[in-house]
C-alpha cells in the first residue's frame, strides 16, 4: 500500500511526468521520502554522492566554498528540480554543498539502485537519461548566462 502511495506521489513530480506506469513501478523500489530542516545539508562537496533528489517542496542552495569569500551560492533549486547528478556519474562525489535554505521535502533516489536499473533496462534507462539531458541542457543555458555576469559592467 505504501509503495502504491509513493508511486502515485512520484508520478506528480515534473521530472517524471509522462513516465510510463511500468517504469514508475520499476523505479519506486529505489525511492524513499526525505525531509531536511532549514540549514540542513543534503550534500557536502567531496563526499560520496549516494543519492539523486527530486525536490517536492522547499528550496536548496548550491554552494561552493571560495577561499577569501567564504560560502558562495551559485544557484537555488526549488520544487520540481532535480539535484545530485553526481550520484549517476563516476567518480560519484558531490561537487558542491547543498543546503536547505527552507525546509525541504524530496524524493531521495538511491544512486546505486538507480544506476543498476538504468543499465539493466535500456528502455527505462533511455527515458531517465532523456529527462536528465533536458535538465542538464536548461541548467547549462542558465550557467552560460550567469557566467556572463551581465550586471557587472552595465553602463548608463
Amino acid at each position: 500500500m505504501q509503495t502504491q502511495t509513493l508511486e502515485r506521489a512520484l508520478a506528480t513530480h515534473p521530472f517524471l511526468a509522462d513516465l510510463g506506469q511500468e517504469h514508475l513501478h520499476f523505479l519506486t523500489s529505489c525511492v524513499k521520502n526525505a525531509r531536511f530542516e532549514r540549514d540542513a545539508y543534503l550534500m557536502h562537496e567531496g563526499e560520496p554522492a549516494v543519492s539523486l533528489f527530486l525536490i517536492r517542496e522547499g528550496r536548496v542552495a548550491l554552494e561552493s566554498q571560495v577561499p577569501g569569500r567564504g560560502s558562495v551560492q551559485v544557484e537555488t533549486l526549488e520544487s520540481g528540480a532535480v539535484l545530485g547528478w553526481s550520484a549517476l556519474f563516476p567518480p560519484h562525489y558531490w561537487h558542491l554543498d547543498g543546503r536547505a535554505v527552507e525546509p525541504v521535502l524530496a524524493f531521495e533516489l538511491d544512486g546505486e539502485c538507480l544506476r543498476k536499473k538504468i543499465e539493466g533496462d535500456k528502455e527505462f534507462g533511455y527515458a531517465i537519461t532523456r529527462r536528465l539531458l533536458h535538465v542538464v541542457h536548461r541548467r547549462l543555458e542558465r550557467a552560460r548566462l550567469q557566467q556572463l555576469d551581465v550586471y557587472k559592467a552595465e553602463l548608463q
Binding site: R59, V72, E78, L145, Y151, E154, Q156
Partner: protein, 279 residues
Amino acid sequence: MTVQAAPDPMLPEFLPVDRLVRETHDTFTLSFDTRGRGGFAFTPGQFNMLYAFGVGEVPISISGDPARSGELVHTIRAVGAVTRALERAKKGTSVGVRGPFGTSWPVEQYSGRDIVLIAGGIGLAPLKPVIHQVLKRRREFGRLAVVYGTRTPGDILFKKQLEQWATRRDVELAISVDRGDPGWRGHTGVVTTLLGRVSFDASNAVACLCGPEVMMRFAARELEKLGLPNERIFLSLERNMKCALAHCGRCQLGGTLICRDGAVYRRDRVLRLMATKEL
C-alpha cells in the same frame, strides 16, 4: 523659486537637488522638487539628459511615479565621471535637466491584459514608473508579474518598495540574484529561471523588459518559448547618447536613433538589429 522652461531643447534647465537617497553601494536616487516650475510631466520609459555642471551630461531614465508630477526622480548607478559627480550632489546642488525624451512603455494601450515586467540590475528603475502606473489603475489590468534579477543581495534596489509590493495580493513579485551569500534565503540563479515562478497568460500578456541587452535577449527567448509573440514584447535599448534630439547620430542602431525612436522598442522591430554583431 520659479524656473522658466528652457525654450531651446539643447539648453538644460537647472534644478536644485531636493534629496539624494543611497540605494546600494553604487546606486543612488536623486529627487528634484518641481512644484515651483509647475511639475514635470513624463510618461513611463522616458529619460532625461542630466548635466553635472562642468563634468558632462548623461541620459538617465526617470524612475518616479508619473502621477506625482511635483517630484522628478532618477535612479543612477555611479559608473563614470558624470554619474560619480551626480553622486556627490547635496541638497540644493544645481543639476542641468533636459527632457523628457524618448518613447514610452505602451502599457496604457493594453488594459485588460496581464502585464509581465522583467528587470535586470538598474533596469528596475525605468520600469518602476510602469508599476506605479499599473497599481494606480489596478482594476484595468489583469495579473501583474514583476520579475527582477540582480547580481547579489546587496545590489537589490528599492528594497522597502519591493517589500511593500510583495505584501500585495495583486502583485506577483519574484526576485533572484546571480550570486547569493550565506545569509540570502531567496532565489539564486539567472532571472530567466523566475519566469516559471510567476503566473500569466501568455496568450494575452504583454511583457516589458529592461536591463543588460544580453539578459533581455535570453529573457525574450524564454517568453517566446512560453508563447508570447514578439509583438507583445517591449524592451529598452541603450547606446551612447549625446544630443538626445536625433541630430548627432551617436545613438544610431541600424536605421533607428534610440533617442528618437526608443529607448522602448517593440521586439519584432529590433530583433534583427539586436542579433547583428558590432552594432
